[in-house]
């Protein structure tokens, strides 16, 4: 990637005259002065390697043009059916209202299916041209070659601290490998790295330079975490470098530098406004749950026995719940529609496109709880643009925070109308109607209650409604978030290294995550489990290798190491709950947190086990070969 920026390197896009797509520099405070006068300065080169998302279902597209109604139907495995509809209309030149995009059950996305791929307009074009239904399914090797990759960042990090371990300044020069072409989100992914580079810590002097570089590789774009895992690895390595530099425990150095819990909302040096947080609280709970003191004592014993045991920490904060619309190119809102049938059953239509996150369940729970209907009487519909007309989709851990908030608005509208109808039937004022457990009654008179089903029937039969009220019991809302959410947490990994082979065994992974209000704890834990596994994959196993001619060498699951069950322990999870003020649910998002928190914890654990040996550059993943080579160095 660095080679791509040299003057004598062939150009990917000759017309541009350079392989550097963009350069951005952010400066806060006076980093030059801070570095010059700091007693402790440490440097490290970090390689966030190129990863392949590997949704287990490869992409598939079916295009079916029907000349009768002049209608194009495209079935595609995507996270963003409405965006695909808009772009198909544009590229294939067919009016958008004659395009229907269906994303049925999708076998995992992880960001790589939040893109507009050439096969979608190509098949649409061919179907229209040939008047045939056309299907294309990616092979796994094609998925490795042509579905977007993630990460691939090189960071030169410098960090300055005082003698006590307080972070004074941070400087990072980041090269982002964009691959050959920009994709839907690509410039924003590495922007997420610069935005979150100061992590959970208060620091005044920051300088970040970001270069987006074109290379002759597969394009990179969003992959679970999308920019924030990279930032977290950088800042969490910075904490370890400082701890090393001042001879203090890594947990203690983090404590010294946390943004205090009473400082929220907090604006970071580079201008990101964190909504709410309690980083110290998460770390304290983590250290207690993992029994940190006992672990350090055990590590001492292991060292005396000649065993290489390591303990790694990570305090992360991430940025999600995207929009608001002002920071998105085509809307950061989300839609929801609730239709209550005359029988009292409920249809929920969401503009989100879950690919396994379980919003169908969580949304049904909210509706069942707030309207007092049975879970079996709620149907959640998504992923068909003829059934759900407008939406943005599922990415950036926005489902509950943004889509869930749209749902809450709808539920409130339904409740309000139901109370007005009940007030009319009961001949009381609306303010005097209590709506609880699916029943509506005047305050203090539960005996005369009307069921929600009766209200729904009244709304549909429409013979006894207040004169100013329309029939039906339906609500539609577009929810525009007022800001981003910043979930956080603390992860701890315990590893043991085989001195002979360099093999790293992850013995324990303990996590305390805070995603604000939780609707369904089982689903939230499931998101964290899967996130941790992918983050461990980045730390220890997964890498994408091209040869010098640009040939992909890791083009199948035989060559690309997705973590297996036998390589992972059961995870030990706990949580704190710090709700966000930016949406009515108080929910922050949990889709990516596990991935963001786990990689640095595992990396820090491996480097802790390797002491006094170091790794610079620090290139992920920490394969047996890299670990073994580190162990062969002369002791410093």
């Amino acid at each position: 990637m660095e080679a791509a920026t040299r003057d004598d390197t062939p150009l990917v896009h000759r017309a541009l005259g350079t392989n550097v797509s963009f350069t951005r520099t952010l400066v806060a405070g006076d980093p030059t002065e801070a570095f010059a006068s700091a007693p402790v300065v440490r440097r490290q080169r970090l390689v966030n390697q190129r990863l392949v998302p590997v949704a287990l279902e490869a992409r598939c597209v079916i295009a079916d043009y029907d000349p009768g109604p002049d209608k194009l139907t495209v079935i595609t495995s995507t996270q963003i059916p409405h965006t695909i509809r808009a772009l198909l209309a544009k590229v294939v030149a067919i009016p958008e209202h004659r395009v229907r995009v269906i994303a049925p059950e999708v076998g995992g996305g992880f960001g790589a299916k939040a893109n507009f791929y050439p096969e979608e307009p190509l098949l649409a074009y061919l179907s229209r041209r040939l008047l045939r239904r056309i299907k294309w399914t990616e092979t796994r090797t094609e998925a490795f070659q042509a579905t977007t990759h993630g990460r691939d960042q090189l960071c030169d990090l410098e960090v300055a601290a005082d003698a006590g371990g307080r972070l004074l300044a941070l400087r990072a020069t980041i090269h982002q490998d964009l691959g050959a072409y920009h994709q839907l989100f690509s410039p924003h992914v590495s922007g997420g790295t610069t935005a979150m580079i100061t992590g959970c810590y208060a620091v005044d002097h920051v300088e970040v330079t970001l270069k987006g570089v074109f290379t002759n590789k597969t394009p990179t774009d969003a992959y679970r975490g999308a920019g924030r895992p990279e930032a977290t690895l950088i800042i969490e390595r910075a904490m370890e470098l400082i701890a090393d530099g001042v001879g203090k425990d890594a947990a203690e150095v983090r404590r010294l530098n946390f943004i205090p819990a009473d400082a929220f909302p907090f604006e970071t040096a580079i201008g990101i406004r964190y909504d709410s947080g309690n980083y110290q609280g998460a770390l304290d709970k983590l250290l207690a749950n993992a029994d940190y003191t006992a672990l350090r004592a055990e590590q001492e014993r292991a060292r005396r026995e000649g065993r290489l045991m390591g303990i790694g920490l990570c305090n992360y904060v991430e940025m999600c719940g995207f929009g608001p619309s002002t920071m998105m190119s085509s809307g950061g809102w989300e839609t929801c529609e609730i239709e209550v049938r005359g029988s009292g059953t409920v249809v929920v239509k969401t503009g989100l496109k879950p690919t396994g996150q379980g919003e169908e369940t969580a949304f049904a729970q909210i509706v069942a709880d707030r309207l007092g209907v049975s879970l079996d009487d709620v149907e959640v519909i998504h992923g068909d643009t003829d059934l759900v007309g407008e939406g943005i989709g599922t990415f950036g851990s926005r489902g509950m925070a943004v889509g869930g908030s749209a749902l809450m608005r709808c539920v409130d509208t339904i409740r309000t109308k139901a109370r007005r109808i009940a007030a009319h039937l009961l001949e009381v004022h609306t303010d005097d109607v209590v709506f609880e457990d699916g029943k509506l009654h005047p305050t203090g008179a539960p005996a005369v209650a009307r069921s929600f089903g009766e209200i729904a029937r009244t709304a549909h039969v429409a013979t006894d409604l207040p004169p100013d009220l329309e029939p039906g019991l339906t609500a539609v809302h577009y929810y525009e978030p007022t800001g981003l959410t910043f979930p956080f947490g603390a992860h701890l990994a315990v590893v043991e290294i085989d001195r002979e082979t360099g093999w790293v065994t992850l013995k324990r992974h303990v996590a305390v995550d805070d995603c604000g209000t939780i609707i369904n704890p089982t689903i939230v834990e499931g998101q964290v489990h899967g996130g941790i596994a992918q983050g461990v994959g980045q730390a220890l196993f997964e890498t994408t290798i091209y040869d010098e001619f640009g040939q992909l060498l890791t083009g199948s699951l035989m060559d690309y190491a997705v973590p297996k069950a036998s390589l992972l322990p059961s995870f030990e999870l706990d949580r704190t709950v710090t709700s966000t003020p930016v949406n009515p649910l108080g929910a922050k998002g949990i889709g990516e947190a596990g991935t963001i928190g786990s990689t640095p914890a595992v990396v820090n654990a491996v480097l802790d086990a390797l002491r006094p040996y170091a790794m610079d550059p620090l290139t992920l993943p920490l394969t047996p070969e890299r670990v073994w080579r580190a162990l062969q160095q002369a002791a410093p």
């Binding site: 287990l56 092979t139 796994r140 699951l557 069950a565």
Partner: protein
């Protein structure tokens, strides 16, 4: 074309097929049972796992004609009379699936494991699942589900 005769989910059937037809293609395209998935072409991911004479096999690396005279069970054949199989029930109640793409293969691999061992420990379960990749769950709840299904009621 070659005739293959086998029992699929308890029903005997004969089909004229290409000798080179993979078992997974036979199951999906000839028999129309799309619960068996294709996640790779290299016998790594295990999404295509089916039972052949009660043994879990990756149907992407076996020809359909190799199943001649044998009993093939896919995920569609596991439950009976509209009732979920205890493993399916356990995967559901333990939240052992997210996108669900690996789930049929996972369940059939677990089926073989539980046929061989009544109460496998966590290490044995994780070892048995080595040939089945899941990208969503981190395996945590899959292990729990198999333990729950193994537990005598």
């Amino acid at each position: 074309m070659t005739k293959v005769t086998l029992t699929l989910n308890g029903v005997e059937r004969s089909d004229d097929i290409e000798p080179r037809l993979l078992l997974v293609q036979y199951v999906r395209e000839v028999a129309g049972l799309t619960g068996t998935h294709i996640g790779c072409e290299t016998s790594i991911c295990g999404a295509c796992t089916v039972l052949v004479d009660r043994r879990a096999v990756k149907s992407c690396t076996q020809f359909a004609v190799q199943a001649e005279g044998k009993a093939v069970t896919t995920i569609e054949g596991l439950g009976t009379d509209g009732q979920l199989h205890p493993l399916q029930e356990a995967f559901w109640s333990e939240h052992a699936l997210q996108c669900g793409f690996c789930t049929p293969g996972m369940i059939l691999t677990a089926h073989q494991l539980l046929g061989a061992s009544n109460m496998p420990d966590e290490g044995e379960i994780r070892h048995a699942l080595e040939g089945n990749l899941c990208r969503c769950t981190g395996y945590h709840n899959i292990v729990r589900a198999i333990q729950a299904a193994a537990r005598p009621n």
